[in-house]
Amino acid sequence: MQIASSIDDFSTLVAAIKAAGVENAVVNAGPLTIFAPLNSAFAKLPKGTVETLLKPENKSKLAFILTNHVAPANYPTKQLKKEAKKKRKLYMASGKYLEVVTKDDGMYVGGVKIIKTVKASNGWIHVIDDLLLPAE
């Protein structure tokens, strides 16, 4: 959370975490792996979507989307490669599973490419440029 807050590129994510009331969940002991969408990822959504999601009445919907970006486990890149090789899915805090695939140009999770990886004290942050939206 400290890392996310310190970078402007994650300002939408940080605002969303606060709005959804899941702040404590991302600062706890961990280990956590967060797939952190850049502001540009939120910007790709249809116009008005972010504003709608940030409304209090959509708090639970927003929380569900955000927790779909958090895995309650240690997934450094090395481990993700292993998951891909063994065709194992990642269990996300939302209750859903995400697929991991190794492609020529990098690792993909839920069809979204990992741009960069940062170590945090309580786990790992993988930066992505698209949201991991559950099918429903």
Partner: protein
């Protein structure tokens, strides 16, 4: 609201009932009513998430440990294992700390911890280390106030009942240990009836290394066969002297409650340790053969090691002039407390109705004037009238210990009349008295044994609680009671149960320690010979029937977590390193069938337990400290094959050798 009132009423009932049981009604202006006002409760209340103002280190007596509480809340933060094994923390059970409990009598799993004392610089507590004595198997321990862990334990030879210990001089030059029981030195097979003249006492001076705190048995002073009960250093003007109360100057060995109470006065022994240093320098000592354990923790290897002391330099108080003087003090004095300015030495005759204050200035003059009243075993006895500064009359029954608030007042506990009495230094008048529940021993004011006490709170430590708490069968807790002493009158604001016997305590302001406590152990500084600093470093190595597993733990798995090739009859060493480098992320480990405790391993540290599998099968181990959301998944298996089978050693994590790409 209704419930609150009910609770409130029953609380009043309890207090009234308790004080009527105390038997103090006649001798006290009841302190009980004060605690009921809401402002009192607020004084001890530390809101959730807030910090206490003071640390209190309260010894556990027969628990052998030292407990850390906050004041004014009375909240228990940690029990530091010192002289007793502690399965919760693996202390004395894991291979690294077993050596801490070595003595010349072999491995001793228990101790009787008594008097904690914080290191000092210029007479003020400095928060580097805390020392504590063990009474039964004479030892002194040093605990780091960065890690809150025991770093060193040294055994005291020629001592029995190490009670008048472990008090430090005002620049932590020495930590001092006096023997309670006199014994034949060296030990020999003689009739007990030959006590007189054959039994001796020892006062030991242990030099403290100023950088690391390591203790070194510098010298002992050989004393007549009395009981040396308590002691305190001189400070300021009396720096260079050390004072010890004695009882049993009768030199009795049986039915002591009668036979050691025959003399109207026993002594406070005034020891000139600067003179002792001169005598040592001048070679006026004899060297005696002894054997004592000296156990030291090594922060780099995370392991304790025992070395054996073989001799000690001894100064004979009977033949070396100017080394020791006796100050007559009434009725088997127990407490021996020195005022912050170093002028008064307060002796508490435990059977006396008054307290005795000796003057250091008068003592020096009496020595110069040779105002002696005979001698005992060649040691001059100073004339009582020449040294006495005054006494606190009719203070109470059974005085034990005195502490000071730095504002000219003293506070003395009275065991028999179960109260704390506040009195004024110099005028010796009683200012206030409050009952305690019940039978108080020591009391503690943070910094009370120094030039600079912090006179805000006073903790009274009680031996008996009887009806104070919900009953728990025949064995009930002992307790501490917290008084606000910032005003003219003492105000009882809290009482709280303690571990074991709250024998004595030391306290200091929170900010002396809280900024410098250790948070993690750095992996790059870990020099444990069996540490695995990454998962790739883990291994399983067989050496005959010994198998060494260098294992790691991180949220939320062990590496390796599947191990095969172990056989019945093997001795399996689990050397486990916690790879976490984040504050407050310990892991634990235990193995089914291991005849030892769990390990509780802090980030960056390596610890070892031994498992000797007796049965064929596949046996699980797991993390014992709830570490993460997937704590329950933190587990592994060891396959045990029959003796003589040829199952190869195999160790994996996720079907690969740990750390493999």
């Amino acid at each position: 609201m209704k419930k609150y009132i009910l609770y409130f009423m029953s609380f009043i009932g309890l207090v009234v009932f308790a004080s009527s049981c105390g038997g103090n009604n006649g001798s006290s202006n009841n302190g009980g009513s004060g605690v009921l006002s809401s402002s009192m409760a607020e004084q001890a209340y530390v809101a959730p998430g807030e910090y206490d103002d003071f640390y209190a280190f309260i010894s556990g007596g027969f628990s052998g440990q030292l407990a850390v509480y906050g004041l004014p809340s009375g909240r228990l933060f940690r029990v530091i294992p010192v002289f007793s094994q502690d399965p919760e923390k693996g202390y004395g059970y894991n291979e690294e700390t077993k050596a801490m409990l070595n003595t010349s009598y072999g491995f001793v799993p228990w101790g009787d911890s008594h008097h904690p004392d914080i290191s000092q610089t210029n007479g003020e507590i400095d928060g580097r280390w805390i020392f504590i004595n063990e009474n039964n198997t004479p030892r002194i321990a040093r605990i780091s106030l960065k890690t809150f862990e025991t770093e060193e334990i040294i055994e005291i030879p020629n001592s029995a009942g190490n009670h008048s210990s472990s008090f430090v001089t005002e620049n932590s030059e020495y930590v001092v240990a006096g023997t309670r029981f006199s014994v034949p030195i060296p030990q020999k097979d003689i009739p007990i009836s030959e006590y007189k003249g054959n039994f001796k006492g020892s006062l030991s001076f242990l030099k403290i290394d100023q950088e690391h705190g390591d203790m070194d048995l510098s010298f002992q002073i050989r004393m007549p066969g009395f009981d040396y009960d308590l002691s305190h250093p001189g400070r300021g003007k009396s720096h260079g002297w050390f004072f010890f109360t004695t009882y049993n100057t009768e030199e009795a060995s049986t039915l002591m409650e009668v036979n050691a109470s025959q003399n109207d006065k026993d002594f406070i022994a005034a020891v000139n340790w600067k003179k002792a240093e001169e005598y040592i320098k001048a070679g006026k000592f004899t060297t005696e053969k002894v054997k004592y354990a000296h156990n030291k923790w090594n922060d780099a290897t995370h392991t304790a090691k025992t070395t054996w002391g073989k001799e000690v330099k001894v100064l004979d108080a009977s033949t070396l002039p100017g080394l020791v003087y006796f100050m007559p003090t009434p009725k088997s004095p127990h407490g021996c407390d020195v005022t912050p300015d170093g002028e008064y030495i307060i002796g508490s005759g435990k059977l006396a109705a008054e307290l005795t204050a000796h003057s250091f200035t008068k003592m020096i003059k009496a020595i110069e004037d040779k105002a002696f009243d005979g001698e005992a075993y060649g040691i001059p006895i100073l004339k009582y009238d020449a040294i006495n500064a005054g006494s606190v009359k009719q203070a109470g029954l059974g005085p034990l210990h005195t502490e000071f608030d730095g504002k000219g007042n003293a506070y003395t506990t009275f065991f028999i009349s179960s109260e704390v009495v506040k009195w004024k230094l110099g005028t010796w008048e009683v200012l206030d008295r409050k009952p305690v529940y019940y039978s108080v021993g020591h009391l503690m004011i943070p910094g009370g044994n120094s030039r600079k006490p912090f006179g805000k709170y006073m903790v009274a430590m009680n031996k008996i609680t009887k009806d104070r708490y919900l009953p728990t069968g025949p064995e009930v807790c002992q307790s501490a009671q917290l008084f606000d002493i910032s005003g003219d009158k003492m105000k009882l604001i809290l009482d709280f149960p303690t571990i074991g016997e709250p024998h004595y305590a030391a306290g200091c302001p929170a900010d002396l320690l809280m900024g410098k406590t250790t948070k993690i152990f750095k992996l790059e500084e870990n020099k444990h010979p069996y540490a695995a600093l990454t998962e790739a470093d883990t291994k399983v190595v067989r050496k005959g029937n010994e198998v060494h597993i260098n294992m790691t733990m991180i949220r939320s798995h062990f590496a390796p977590d599947n191990i095969e090739g172990i056989k019945v009859g093997d001795k399996v060493f689990f050397h486990v390193t916690n790879l976490e480098q984040d504050y407050d992320v310990p892991h634990g480990i235990s193995m089914i069938g291991a005849n030892t405790s769990e390990l509780l391993i802090m980030p960056g540290r390596t610890e070892t337990f031994i498992w000797e599998p007796k049965l064929v099968g596949v046996w699980p181990f797991y993390c014992t400290d709830f570490c993460s959301a997937l704590h329950q998944e933190m587990q592994g298996y060891v396959r045990v094959s029959p003796k003589g089978s040829n199952t190869p050693i195999k160790y994996t994590l996720d079907d690969d050798i740990p750390g493999a790409e």
